[in-house]
């Protein structure tokens, strides 16, 4: 697993750097064309081609990506389609490179996850290892793109894998470190948002609670606005690529008036943090509003990208505005505006992605500074509390929760979900026809190893089960030998379908009070599922998961 994690980390690091470089090169090329108002068509062109490529040529319908990675780990077999690597790479390159207001981190995580999944399939790994490889890929992708190994590690553990054990932590570290090293080797050891922050007074720390609450509320509005835009664009009965082009055109118009909202928007964040002459408060508030709209339109219309970068950029604007307002108040010892901008970034990541640790470590690593740790912790936790109070999950997990597709690791449901009913069926029993007389049953019963007998009808379908305990008192009553048929003494039990979730099967055990239930696939009787066998495997799975 360590070697696989190393390989995944190196490849994901290179892909992250490659995508980042490609996007910035395309962006620079378009900017240098200097086409004036005609540049409003570039986001439309990029988004339209991207969606045509992703949806019609690559047949990739997995949504915005990170959700499908989480779903593949939580519910599925750790399998992501290999074509996702190409579709997300070129889709996000076209969307973001031409000005689409979204981020590269989501697509990079999908690419990393798909790489891990492809490697797992190639090495013929079992489900559990394949899922971990998907997580290592996500860690490598984030570490590589941000040049931040700790953030990659924490992001993968907190948001993607959701499990903190040595089997997950050590290889994830390897993946994150190798991705970061390859990123540094190619691009140099660049710091995303360098900003030295002096001390933080008690007043400023208290203010961070308020900033956290504000970013928490804005996170909720941001995530809800994405759903609203998706619904609005879904009402347009045109081809998907046309919808994306319409969205792109709208973003192009917004970008014509405020170019900072285009693409990822990190240049605006950098300017908020470092420029000696700060923009006006009104400009910052307008920027936040337009970025909010531009990102919602880009993603809602089907553009390929993620919410990580927009969250950071909006968070920096909100934090900066908050700091500027604080300085207008008669307070002593208020920290500099840039410090609040950084705290706002952590708050938005915590609120949108429900990943407070990811937010804290990202800003810490991106600024190479430990001095911000307390305000970051306070802001992120406050934002998380507010957001999780009103929202059932993060931007990545809300839909999965609604579909019932999100199963948290370590829970009973997760353990049960990972038991394969077909593998644990009892098959060393004797089936009997429903017309079998008690006299003939005696012969069958002599060679039986189980105390139950599934009863099959003329079409070989299971119609019930005869339990030895039910008929034992009458086994030697010869007056009944030619009168009792097995169909008349069987119990009608609920039948488990092989494709049912195992928790549904458990409910059937609970309601019927039976210890064994018949399992069918379609109409074909497969065997009996015994509660004791089920719990025996559950205990074994519990031991594996605890490692």
């Amino acid at each position: 697993m360590m070697t696989a994690a190393l390989g995944i980390g190196l490849v994901c690091g290179m892909l992250a750097v490659g995508l980042n470089w490609s996007v910035h090169t395309l962006r620079l090329f378009i900017t240098e064309l200097d086409l004036g108002w005609r540049s409003i068509f570039f986001p439309a062109l990029g988004a339209g081609i991207a969606v045509f490529f992703v949806r019609y040529l690559m047949h990739d319908n997995e949504g915005h990506g990170v959700s499908s990675v989480i779903k593949a780990i939580a519910l599925g077999t750790g399998s992501l389609r290999r074509r996702m690597i190409y579709s997300r790479f070129f889709g996000s390159l076209l969307t973001v490179g031409t000005g689409g207001s979204t981020g590269l981190e989501g697509p990079i995580v999908s690419i990393g996850g798909a790489m891990g999944s492809a490697l797992g399939r190639w090495l013929d790994m079992n489900e559990r290892h394949k899922k971990l490889l998907v997580g290592y890929g996500a860690a490598g992708a984030v570490a590589g793109i941000f040049n931040a190994p700790l953030t990659g590690l924490i992001f993968a553990l907190e948001i993607i894998i959701g499990e903190w054990s040595y089997l997950t932590i050590l290889p994830t570290i390897i993946a994150a470190v190798s991705a970061t090293e390859i990123s540094r080797w190619i691009m140099g050891d660049k710091i995303a948002f360098f900003q030295e922050i002096a001390g933080f007074s008690i007043t400023s720390l208290i203010a961070c609670f308020a900033l956290g609450a504000i970013t928490g509320v804005i996170s909720i509005l941001f995530v809800r606005s994405l759903h609203v835009w998706e619904k609005l664009f879904a009402k347009i009965s045109l081809h998907l690529w046309v919808r994306a082009a319409i969205g792109g055109l709208s973003v192009g118009v917004l970008g014509y008036y405020m170019p900072e909202v285009l693409s990822e928007g990190y240049s605006a964040t950098q300017s908020f943090l470092t420029d000696s002459i700060r923009p006006e408060l009104g400009f910052i508030l307008l920027f936040v509003l337009l970025k909010f709209l531009a990102c919602g339109i880009t993603l809602g219309s089907g553009g390929v990208g993620g919410v990580f970068a927009p969250s950071l950029v909006i968070g920096s604007g909100v934090g900066l505005a908050f700091g500027m307002i604080l300085h207008l108040l008669p307070l002593d010892g208020v920290a500099e505006d840039a410090a609040f901008a950084l705290a706002g970034m952590a708050g938005m990541v915590a609120g949108v992605m429900h990943g407070p640790l990811t937010g804290i470590f990202l800003v810490m690593e991106a600024t190479r500074g430990y001095s911000m740790i307390l305000p970051l912790m306070l802001t992120a936790s406050s934002a998380m509390v507010v957001s999780s109070f009103f929202e059932i999950g993060s931007v990545y997990t809300q839909d999965l929760i609604k579909q019932g597709s999100l199963i948290k690791r370590g829970t009973d449901r997760y353990l049960l979900h990972h038991l394969n009913i077909r593998d644990i069926l009892d098959k060393d029993f004797i089936t009997i026809p429903e017309g079998l007389l008690l006299r003939d049953f005696i012969d069958e019963f002599k060679r039986a190893r189980r105390n139950y007998f599934p009863v099959l009808d003329a079409e070989k379908q299971c119609v019930g089960v005869v339990f030895l305990d039910d008929i034992r008192p009458h086994l030697f009553d010869t007056s009944l030998y030619d009168l009792v048929t097995m169909g008349s003494v069987m119990r009608n039990l609920p039948i488990i379908n092989l494709n049912e979730p195992i928790n549904v099967a458990l409910d059937k055990f609970e309601t019927s009070k039976a210890w064994s239930l018949p399992v069918v696939e379609g109409k074909l009787f497969l065997g009996m599922l015994s509660k004791s066998t089920l719990f025996d495997h559950y205990r074994r799975e519990l031991q594996i998961q605890a490692i």
């Binding site: 019930g464 009553d477 008349s488 119990r491």
Partner: protein
């Protein structure tokens, strides 16, 4: 027999299905027809209906004798089915009872005889 309407409509068919599996005639002109499977929700409680036939019927009984009395056994579940069938079989497997039945006794006499027989064999 006081039965729910839906059961009344399907009972003959259910009894025939069981008969097709094997005869419920137990010899000496007696048969214990019953449905192939317990009736479950179709019936509130198990019951036995006794019918003396005007014209004896061929039930393909093991001894080949035509059946003159039938005990229709309707049970809600397999437990009661086995329990009732066992008691009935024990009651009917008695030459005195066989003679008694040939006189088409009243319901009260039949129940008395059944209880007396049960007490003796208990």
């Amino acid at each position: 027999m006081n039965l729910p309407r839906q059961l009344k409509e399907t009972l003959a068919d259910q009894l025939m299905q069981r008969e097709l599996l094997s005869s419920t005639g137990i010899g000496n002109g007696i048969a214990v027809p019953h449905p192939k499977t317990p009736l479950g929700q179709q019936l509130k409680k198990s019951m036995v209906g006794t019918f003396f036939l005007e014209k004896p019927l061929d039930f393909k009984a093991p001894d080949g004798m035509p059946v003159f009395v039938v005990f229709v056994l309707l049970s809600a579940d397999s437990f009661h089915h086995l329990h009732l069938l066992s008691q009935l079989a024990r009651f009917l497997n008695n030459t005195e009872v066989n003679d008694f039945l040939k006189h088409s006794p009243t319901l009260e006499n039949l129940v008395d005889q059944f209880q007396k027989n049960l007490a003796e064999t208990a």
